[in-house]
């Protein structure tokens, strides 16, 4: 190989490296401006983009109101967002970008459990405080606090709790014993079903068919026909908001609507979802961390404020992110400093009044929160109560 080639190589390499180096000198403003730098990792594109948009809006609303009131001891909250696309790989890159490039001290994220599980080791390494606000897989806090990760907290109830109360309600109040499973193939969908299987024998329930769908699936008729022919009384679905209308519509098509209800979680309660297939969603049972119909002054205040700001009713993800930014604000106030370690210690001891009750963290950095059970009656979600259960940490 010869001289021209080599020389060309060197020219090119040198120029390319100079080019690549150019942006370095314009790195963003330094982090010394006394603001609280908060990163939000959420799916802004892909099948879960709706969740991400709500999450970011909720967080931004909280930050806006806190800043308008003068900040926390004069410190303003500055929000940086990054797109996880709902996939672990992109989530980790987004986290790295926020930590390395935007120099955030605090992180809230992600919605998807699989992404959060992948983010945990990264934030632990960087010593950045992660408060998860919307992932429900129990493993996240099994491995946090005394379980290992010192920098991971979760302000969201877990699937362990959810699976139990859904199974209990379906069996005791509705009298179902035969179930079909149709859940999303992810850490969230699979672990919720694992816990359902753990609790179902207690209520003499059995699972007749079990299917998991990939995110982005649009044709459920074959599976729904199979469920119809199996004689199941209810479909246990731990799914995603965007899939619920599709499943509900196709339930109408194969003749399941009005006969076999959906139970589990997947935003069954929003107006748009119910409107897409009212007959199929009638009688659906859902356990959620929060819903707009929840009756408490703080909750109502949030719904009014959010609707006024964005001309759209908030969902569960908007609420939990809004609440978590406020929680972080209180922790900073209690720590009297924006120092990561001090805020973390303050958070561990905090007593915070949320819209669904008092929040405290246990030794696994898991918030003690109730799950709200609701049922769709006459096209409207009706709250059937809030339940909390103790978490049984594996030894």
């Amino acid at each position: 190989m010869a001289n021209t080639v080599h020389r060309r190589a060197f020219c090119l390499l040198a120029s390319a490296i100079c080019l690549a180096g150019a942006p370095v000198f314009e790195t963003p403003a330094l982090a010394q401006d006394n603001s609280i730098r908060l990163g939000i990792v959420a799916p802004m594109s892909g099948p879960n983009a709706r969740y991400g948009a709500f999450s970011l809006r909720g967080a931004q609303l909280a930050a806006k109101d806190i800043n308008a009131a003068g900040g926390i001891d004069g410190r303003k909250i500055q929000i940086f967002s990054a797109d996880s696309q709902g996939t672990p790989v992109e989530g980790v890159s987004a986290t790295r970008r926020l930590i390395d490039q935007d120099k955030v001290d605090f992180l809230i994220g992600d919605v998807s459990s699989s992404v959060t599980l992948a983010m945990q080791p990264v934030v632990e390494d960087a010593g950045v405080l992660l408060i998860n606000a919307a992932s429900s897989n129990p493993k996240i806090t099994y491995a946090a606090g005394v379980g290992g990760f010192k920098w991971s907290f979760r302000n969201y109830p877990t699937d362990e709790n959810r699976a139990l109360i859904v199974a209990q309600y379906a069996a005791e109040k509705r009298g179902f014993t035969k179930f079909a499973v149709l859940s999303v193939d992810s850490d969230y969908g699979r672990s919720a079903i694992d816990f359902t299987k753990k609790y179902l024998p207690r209520f003499n329930g059995q699972i007749l068919t079990e299917d998991y769908y990939k995110e982005g699936e649009v044709d459920f008729r074959s599976v729904l026909a199979k469920i119809r022919d199996s004689g199941a009384q209810a479909i246990i679905m731990y799914g995603l908001a965007d899939t619920t209308p599709i499943v509900a519509r196709q339930m109408t098509e194969v003749g399941l609507a009005g006969k076999v209800p959906l139970i589990g979680n997947g935003e069954f309660n929003t107006e748009k979802t119910i409107k897409s297939a009212p007959k199929a969603l009638e009688g659906a049972v859902e356990a959620a961390a929060w819903l707009p119909a929840w009756d408490s002054p703080k909750s109502k205040g949030f719904v009014t404020r959010f609707t006024a700001e964005y001309r759209e009713a908030p969902n569960n993800h908007a609420y939990v992110h809004w609440e978590t930014v406020n929680l972080l604000g209180k922790a900073v106030e209690a720590a009297k400093s924006a120092d990561r370690a001090k805020v973390r210690d303050a958070l561990a001891k905090i007593k915070y009044d949320s819209a669904v009750g008092e929040v405290t963290f246990d030794d696994h950095n898991q918030a003690k929160l109730p799950m709200i059970l609701l049922q769709i009656e006459d096209g409207k979600p009706v709250v059937k109560g809030a339940y909390s259960a103790d978490i049984d940490y594996p030894r």
Binding site: M1, A2, N3, T4, V5, H6, R7, R8, A9, F10, C11, L12, L13, A14, S15, A16, I17, L19, A20, G21, P23, V24, T27, T87, P88, V89, E90, G91, V92, S93, R96, R97, D100, Q101, S114, L117, A118, Q120, P121, V122, D125, D185, S186, D187, R190, K214, E215
Partner: protein, 328 residues
């Protein structure tokens, strides 16, 4: 192409030594010059350099257009991740294992695929990526499906009683730099050997090459395996760097990106591919262009490359460079 040009006499002074030294010094001092994020961009582009080198052997030197590179990249990533998570083996063992498995897997896949011509071969190689993704998504007990494998340990080396772990962006940069430099050297050895000349003969005219005694079938198969092994190495480093792998490692856009690096940099040249990965991966990552905008730009690059710059963008820049020098 480059091999033919190489015999031309050189105009002007021999600048190889000063430029070589400059590159080495620049590469070694990069962490001092670059911020953490720019360094991350360089790391990513050096990782993508590995599969691109492999693809260059296939496309640039042997003349086989393949989309399978992302499949072997994914295989490498998963092999390395599984070894690290389940067995806790040191990094160099994982790296070696990933390259070996990807290369070995290319044998049974390559035998039927290489019998096909032009478009059919391209489709078949695309099939490897799609089926690879399906396997990664559905073999839940091994790959955990869409949930991905996370918490892949940082690369650590264990030599006898001593062991050390590479951590931090700077440490990782030097590790990747060393691997990329070795890989570049390996490719250089291959293409300057008689075998490299035979590969070019196959690209230029396969029938003619066969008739003068080049065992074309065996050559194509071996090059396919070597390129897969390079992709596997890249996947291994990628998995350790990101600390997670998911089925989306197998996606056509990864294959397309590797193709753009090779075709854009200059197929059939080593320097071109290095330049291509720094330009298309490094620069776009460093400038934080929105991913969609980046993809649109890649699309236009592909069109431009097909219709106007079949030798890549590198010659364009060299011409510009010589023009500049001529003036001064």
């Amino acid at each position: 192409m480059s091999l033919n040009e190489s015999s031309l006499p050189l105009p002007g002074r021999d600048l190889r030594l000063p430029f070589g030294l400059a590159v080495v010094v620049l590469a070694c001092c990069a962490p001092l010059l670059l911020g953490n994020y720019a360094l991350h961009a360089v790391i990513i582009s050096l990782i993508f350099l590995l599969p691109a080198h492999g693809l260059n052997l296939l496309v640039g030197y042997t003349g086989l257009l393949s989309l399978a590179q992302a499949a072997f990249f994914g295989v490498g990533a998963y092999v390395s991740a599984l070894m690290a998570v389940h067995w806790g083996t040191p990094f160099y063992v994982n790296l070696f294992g990933a390259g070996l498995v990807a290369g070995a897997l290319a044998l049974p896949l390559g035998i039927p695929a290489l019998r096909l011509r032009s478009t059919s071969f391209v489709m078949c190689t695309l099939g490897f990526v799609i089926i690879g993704q399906a396997v990664a998504k559905n073999w839940i007990s091994l790959t955990r499906g869409d949930m991905g494998l996370s918490a892949i340990p940082k690369p650590y080396f264990a030599l006898g009683p001593a062991s050390f772990t590479v951590s931090g962006t700077v440490g990782f940069y030097y590790l990747v730099l060393a691997i990329a430099a070795l890989a570049t050297f390996a490719v250089w050895l291959i293409v300057t050997s008689p075998a490299g000349r035979n590969m070019v003969a196959i690209r230029e005219n396969e029938t003619l090459a066969e008739s003068v005694g080049v065992p074309t079938w065996r050559y194509k198969l071996i090059v396919f395996m070597i390129s897969a092994a390079f992709a596997g190495l890249g996947g291994s480093v990628y998995a350790h760097y990101l600390t997670v792998v998911s089925p989306l490692t197998f996606q056509m856009s990864n294959s397309t990106l590797m193709l753009i690096i090779v075709l854009g940099g200059g197929p059939g040249t080593i320097s071109g591919v290095v330049f291509g990965s720094l330009l298309f991966v490094g620069l776009s990552e460093a400038l934080r262009i929105a991913p969609e905008l980046r993809m649109v730009a890649y699309g236009f690059c592909l069109l431009a490359l097909v219709f106007w710059f079949p030798k890549g963008f590198a010659p364009l820049i060299t011409r510009f460079w010589t023009m500049l020098r001529g003036r001064s």
